[in-house]
Assembly symmetry: C2
Homo-oligomer: 101 residues x 2
Amino acid sequence: DHPEHYRLMFERMHEVEPTEQGMLEAFASFDQLVGNVAAARSLRPLGVGTDVEVAQQLWSALHGAVSLELLGIGFADDPDEAFEAMLDALLAGMQVGARGR
Amino acid sequence: DHPEHYRLMFERMHEVEPTEQGMLEAFASFDQLVGNVAAARSLRPLGVGTDVEVAQQLWSALHGAVSLELLGIGFADDPDEAFEAMLDALLAGMQVGARGR
């Protein structure tokens, strides 16, 4: 929902050292994601590892999809559909993985 | 296996317009991934969509994990384990998704 915010948070890190303020904002965003993961996991099993580890897996995958889209690099006809399909697969796999434990 | 190659292929695009040569190499790499996806799918169902769409989903997720690791941004204690767990979940979900069709 906030592509420009996301770009500022991550893409700029390639060009400049992140500011202390920027890092604090990134930490706060990640912390919020961890909270959401914990809330989801209180309802049903999701993923393997700690809440932080599961949040990191989601963050990594989403970061890749978003940053490639911001860069305009994509081979799927419909970027939104590709994003949804990737996220659906990852979440489905996290549910399988959690049940397998 | 080739972090520097990967960095050259993608990270540099943030700073400069990709060269024609760079884009050709990226296309060739993606094409190879599509071939590997097609080969895997000839053995068992994997993912939803065309070979290109499934390859794009994998590429996006891997790009995110690799680029965050190159940037030194990660909240999991063990980046390798986090990477493996993300990939395991995505592939497991792709198998579930394919069977569900």
